[in-house]
Symmetry: C2
Subunit: 896 residues, 2 copies
């Protein structure tokens, strides 16, 4: 195995597509060298060495030493300078570089090769002793802290003291002799702490630097970054040893960063910053303000022209927008880095679309380049980029799980009904709860954002909020909420009801007070790319929507039907006429508390017109598209109040003793409600609910038919596990529906089907496919049962299962991305078995996974007819469905 790859003098051993081996930086340097761009000479030590080093007790692979020595000699030869030379020494930078960008996470050593002899050589060659000694002092400081781990503050302190003594504003005001003295001070400190002198031998310096870069791969911040960004499967970091060039040798020098297109808007214009007489670290430090590229054009037209040519060559070569770093040393341009540039959401779409128009890439490539978060980030407001960093640091209260992106500002309110009251008075509120339940949806609906102390990305709060595209942070484990005192606290910081807070759903941070937000904008190129995706994809995309409003939003987002309409949300909220919600709540609660079938029937009779009206609104919005309606699913206790006060209130309203209400609520409570009396089990025990719901659906459909609307209702039973159970329900559903249709004398087609959300249903799918005309995989619950994981509780230990530094058992959260190995096996089995009995069985998915890129691809590949996602994730699904086809075409994978 080759460990070291040389580049320089127009030749490179590596290529641009060797990122895995050379890291992004190394591959870029090799590629730029190959296509003839001016690149400093150097060599890259491969990521495989890092892997070996970390796995072999911090020892390098045996052959590495000789390879490095050989390449170092070659470097000296082509550059024409020697390491440690007292006249004109070779100096190098030693930089990390992994296959995926991890900005600022790993280490860099500059000016390596300086010692007491070579510093003089540098001074002589540049004719600038101040510059040389400054470079030397920087190197010693960097080496001492990064490689040997001496405390940065100690060295910085000495530097600060010196500058104060000299009343120097910046480094250029410090003379050579002072720098020299500081170097001596540093070295004394080094020897005192380390018990040996500072290494003067450049080779020794180099090996120390290489080891330090390798070590930095496992530094806590780097590991955390990889975890947060889901970066897995990399070998480690490469090490780039590159000839130093200096942008700070005078006014004819400088350094800069540029993009081949505008990263904010995507516009095809050369965009970048330049700082004269400076090195890269000065740009980062932000003491001096860089100027735009046109200033470079004015000052150094030749260099600019050369740079613009590099821009064009690199974009053509990489066929994507590039982010480049360059340095000008004494009027000579050096390209230091090129990589695919990060860009704002709007720019993502514009660049992709423009490049297709320009013939640079194909439509398929444009589609493949869009990622789910590019779409997500389009739709949500964000913390304004103008807010000072310092302000954010000061305001920060705590961090939770970023369940739904976006940002929200409002007054903290801890009870859903109070949130509704406040909202009625025109207040903007953020609903803060330990956790939420269907009772809280009214309060959630009026809130700007939702914050919960418990739960993960698929907790009730997250799922509901996601459906509405409402900013939501969950699982703030450090947040202590005191409902009685109406306040929350974290790390000693207390927020009382009515205090302003700001949520940043993009990173899960909670801030005190009102932070300035910026609104989202929808670029026209977004539509272009999504239409291309629609032309390619075969998988249908529907939306999960519970109200007419959601349904309209779903159509807007490109959903061709509703894959999951949950009927229970309607029990608590009249979304078209919120002021009428109380009637519904009372009716459902009365139905539940009822102690006789008659009382229950009376309550159901009152609910029926509400449900009918809701369904009509949805059918109208979905004219011509199928609407899958899931019959009641959650356990009844979720609908009744659990605190004594509200129970008393309810008792009074329905004319029962408070003890009776309390008793009934107690009877309804379950140890494991997820596995309890819910879904179709409720309809087996209370067939009158089935009658009401099916009746309301069919009546609404018939009414709409009269209006000339094309209605395609699909009635869906939840949590089934047995053929006979489903048969009973399907027979009864058809009896009720056919009766109404016959009475009305109107032709109406409808389907009856089932969710597949329990392993037993999946296992016996062939039997279930007899009564069921369609399957819809409820992969939230299927994940819970297949893996034995409660989504509300998993935040207690799942993070450790995902943590690369700890157990690292799973690479993705199974509630976000479908667990292919286990849950996926069940899904495949069920589809295969179901279609063995009913070949034309319609199959879809309506779990949260229907809006996740990888899961959508899986759904396509196992032969589903459609996926259903929350409206705001419909575009992600549309895109993923196209991406799956493109990927499969490339890898020639047949669809099952």
């Amino acid at each position: 195995m080759k460990y070291v790859y040389f580049f320089g003098a127009g030749k490179a051993e590596g290529t641009g597509d060797m990122k895995e081996i050379l890291g992004g930086k190394g591959a870029g340097l090799a590629e730029m060298t190959r296509i003839g761009l001016p690149v400093p000479y150097g060599f890259t030590i491969s990521t495989a060495c890092c892997d070996y080093y970390l796995k072999h007790n911090h020892k390098h692979p045996p052959r590495l030493r000789s390879e490095v020595e050989k390449n170092l000699s070659r470097l000296e030869r082509v550059v024409g300078k020697k390491f440690g030379d007292a006249r004109d020494p070779l100096l190098v930078s030693v930089r990390s570089g992994s296959a995926r960008s991890m900005p600022g996470m790993m280490e860099t050593i500059l000016n390596l090769g300086l010692n007491d002899q070579s510093v003089e050589g540098l001074a002589r060659r540049t004719n600038n002793a101040r510059f040389a000694w400054d470079a030397y002092r920087r190197f010693v400081q960097m080496y001492a802290t990064v490689v040997t781990g001496l405390p940065k503050e100690e060295l910085e302190g000495r530097l600060r003291a010196l500058k104060e003594r000299l009343k120097a504003m910046d480094d250029t005001q410090v003379g050579a002799e002072h720098w020299q003295k500081l170097v001596t001070e540093y070295k004394h400190y080094f020897k005192e702490k380390k018990g040996q002198p500072f290494p003067e031998n450049p080779a020794e310096q180099l090996w120390g630097a290489i080891g330090a870069v390798f070590e930095s791969w496992m530094a806590e911040k780097a590991v955390t970054y990889r975890r947060v960004e889901h970066i897995t499967g990399l070998l480690g970091t490469a090490v780039n040893v590159v000839q130093m060039v200096f942008g700070n040798t005078g006014d004819n020098s400088g350094t800069g960063v540029c993009f081949t297109r505008d990263p904010s808007t995507g516009e095809k214009s050369f965009y970048g910053d330049f700082l004269a007489n400076a090195q890269g670290e000065d740009v980062v430090a932000g003491i001096r303000t860089p100027v735009p590229l046109r200033e470079l054009e004015r000052r150094m037209p030749k260099v600019y022209k050369q740079l613009d040519r590099a821009r064009q060559m690199l974009e053509k070569q990489y066929r994507d927008m590039q982010d480049m770093e360059f340095t000008v040393e004494d009027g000579k341009l050096y390209m230091l880095q090129t990589r695919t540039g990060k860009r704002a959401p709007a720019a993502v779409f514009r660049i992709a679309a423009d490049m297709v128009q320009e013939g640079l890439i194909k439509r398929e490539e444009a589609i493949e380049r869009i990622q789910a978060q590019d779409i997500e980030r389009l739709f949500y407001p964000v913390i304004a980029s103008t807010v000072p960093r310092q302000e954010l640091v000061q305001r920060k209260i705590c961090t939770g799980v970023n369940a739904v992106p976006g940002a929200a500002v409002g007054r903290a309110v801890f009870m859903a009904h109070e949130a509704e009251e406040w909202a009625k008075k025109g207040e903007r509120v953020v609903l803060v709860r330990r956790e939420t339940s269907p009772e809280d949806v009214g309060g959630m609906a009026v809130a700007q954002g939702v914050l919960t102390a418990t739960g993960g990305k698929t907790s009730h709060a997250a799922v509901v909020a996601r459906g509405w595209g409402k900013c939501c942070i969950v699982g703030c484990e450090k947040l202590f909420i005191d409902y009685a005192a109406k306040q929350m606290s974290s790390n000693g910081r207390v927020v009382r009801q009515g205090d302003w807070i700001t949520l940043d759903g993009n990173d899960g941070t909670v801030y005190a007070g009102q932070v300035q937000l910026a609104s989202p904008q929808m670029p026209k190129h977004y539509h272009t790319v999504l239409e291309w995706a629609d032309e390619i994809r075969k998988l249908g995309v529907r939306a999960n929507a519970d109200t007419a409003q959601d349904a309209r939003k779903a159509r807007e987002m490109g959903a061709a039907g509703i894959g999951l309409c949950r009927t229970e949300h309607m029990f608590f909220k009249d979304f078209e006429h919120p002021e009428r919600s109380a009637d519904r709540q009372l009716a459902i609660q009365e139905m539940i508390i009822a102690d006789s079938r008659e009382a229950r029937q009376r309550a159901l009779d009152r609910l029926r017109p509400f449900q009918r009206g809701d369904f009509m609104g949805i059918f109208r919005a979905m004219d011509g598209y199928p609407v899958t309606i899931r019959l009641i699913d959650p356990p009844l206790h979720e609908f009744v109040p659990h605190d004594a006060e509200k129970q008393k209130e309810l008792a009074q309203k329905i004319g029962l003793a408070p003890e009776v209400v309390a008793r009934r609520v107690e009877q309804l409570s379950e140890s494991n409600p997820m596995l309890g009396h819910r879904g179709c089990r409720l309809l087996i025990t209370y067939p009158e609910i089935l009658d009401m719901q099916v009746g309301a659906i069919i009546e609404a459909a018939l009414e709409c038919r009269k209006e000339g609307i094309k209605v395609i209702p699909e009635i869906m039973h939840a949590l089934t596990m047995d053929r006979k159970e489903l048969q009973i329900l399907v027979d009864e559903t058809r009896r009720i529906a056919d009766n109404l249709i016959q009475k009305a004398g109107i032709k109406l087609e409808y389907l009856v089907g089932t969710m597949i959300e329990l392993p037993r249903a999946a296992l016996l799918a062939d039997e279930l496919a007899e009564p069921a005309e369609f399957f819809s995989f409820g992969t939230n619950d299927l994940t819970q049962t297949v893996m034995g994981l409660s989504r509300d509780d998993a935040s207690r230990f799942l993070p450790e299962y995902l943590d690369e530094t700890k157990a690292a058992i799973f690479s993705t959260d199974p509630f976000q991305t479908l667990d292919r190995a286990g849950v996926g096996m069940m899904v495949e089995w069920a589809i295969q078995r179901g279609r063995s009995r009913r070949p034309k069985l319609k199959v879809g998915i309506c779990g949260e996974h229907g809006g996740d890129t990888e899961s959508v691809k899986f759904c396509y590949r196992v032969g589903m007819d459609y996926v259903s996602a929350s409206p705001f994730r419909v575009p992600i699904a549309r895109l993923a469905a196209a991406q799956a086809i493109i990927e499969d075409k490339r890898s020639k994978r047949p669809r099952r």
Copy 2:
């Protein structure tokens, strides 16, 4: 299809093995006729007619009428009497009879054929007008109520009034003319209510009676009986139309019931009762006391000799103990019924063993005849048979699910710790809880019995109690327990703490006060039969046992090892030294509340010697047999107190603020603890617990090895779902164990394996078999997850799923008998997959199903190496394992 089967005059169309078609009674009558016993003539209408009748809107099959008419003519011919004949009429009884005995559940009509003419004929032939008119009045009364549904009380009232008027003590004191008058009264009443005269036509009477018998199959009490007795799959009842014989024609007549062997002891002696001058219903009514058979022998030696010959013939014919009914009419013996006799638990074993010795049956048949409940009932005390029925009725409070048989008397106590205090003072207590948790095991251990308001047969209370063979009733849904007031109530009846109650775990009834109990006795023939089973079976049988005491009991019951030793019960109770339990509780609670790894480690260090000691006791008891120890399984919140008072106490003991304790307990609570942070997930997050538990196991094993004990520890991880997860734990387990073994310098072999209790583990069993040396199916949890059923909550709707009159979705409770279709498929898949990767993988089951007959047979058939059951169910498993082999041999089914 033939609908009617004739028997009489030494010939029968049916045979004794046609029970499914003819019902038990009809088959018996046919068989007795065939072998030449004196049987009244008659015919049987098949069960298929009942099925047709119930499915076709209460219409008989078209051909039935002609078949019945033909057989009726034949009956008239062979008997030599005619229906409705005014001189010597044919009278018949019309009796139900299903394939499985349902005593008293269905209808019977006697003396059918009597009308105003034929009554005279009967009077003439018997020369006894009083008898004839009494018979007629009985018929009219029976017909009016049973067939036409007139209220029994109305007719009984008239009869009572008559007898009062006449001051008659019994029916024989009422003269013919009074009976005649009563018949007239009855008929008037009939006409008044029904608007038509009482049917005088015997054919019409017959069809009415046949219909009534069919209807009675679906009467509520019959349906309930079948549900309770798990009687399913029958077509319906047959109808036996049989020539009437009269035991009440004088002192030369009589009726009786006898058994071929003593049904209480099983002794081979002729056992029975006889009542002179009486009909069967008089025996049932219990007004006169029957005499033993030797009295019959004395009075009618010829009849007795004939009966004894019938006894011998029938036992030889049926090769089992028979229960026979007979009538003597004017010195002539008639056999009316023979069926396999019910017998006391002790008799079951004696009869089976004796019959093998006598060469009547083979050992295999003896084994097949024993049922699980025969064994169960052997071990448990029962309500004494001497307790008057009336007393039981008065004392009854409510009924729940009979989770563990037996009976218990004690004072009701509502808190586990109070139960312990009371027990210390020498009080006998019954622990009454809404539900139990591991915190309550101390109180459960000292209680005579356990009663809970919630839960099913596999709830915590049931499972723990079953392990101890302790009487337990769960799921008393109508019981309202008020912990604050320390009382329970049901139907307005209140039981306060300290009041005596009695539990009958055999039928789930709770009684107020102290009811007399009787102790169980273990017959020697039990051991004989079980040893035969052991010789035949191939499947290993182990026990679930958590303490040395349990382990000793398990050995006594014939367990060859422990298949499941739950380590968490030890955290709450020192079973050898109960007075030391508090130390353990405190240590485990301190471990959980600990806010640092150090504090947790200190608490674990204190627990370690406790666990080590417990394991040593178990290893000693299991010398030479394997012991599978499951590492900590339940979620931690089950170990900490949930009420403020106890939390305060705990806080004080461990020197923390009560708020800290409360906060930590709140943090531990989960929405769905069954799917929560438990099992191996705890060991992933708290590796120090793994260290303590594995350390304690290995140290105990090493100590025992020094004592010369053969120790075979099998360390088992719970709730695994992923290969990597298990690999991490197995590696760590081996590291800890090997370290200790190496240090000790003692050779010790041990296995490390996993439970398979989540669908994902079963699906990916091939992968899990790489790190796992054995699998043990935890089918309780596997049932919960595969079916999405919480065993603690399932009692809310599962009864309806099992109810034959309602949904009838399942025929058996999946928590009692393994769900073959779903859970069974997962188990088979996992075994197959597991052994595909590790051919010698050891496989067992340790769920509750390991003690269920059908489930044990399944386990054998899918190739498991052993089953593990609670000690008291070990004999059931031993027997079932042999039964499976015998069944398979007969059906030539190969084992997988």
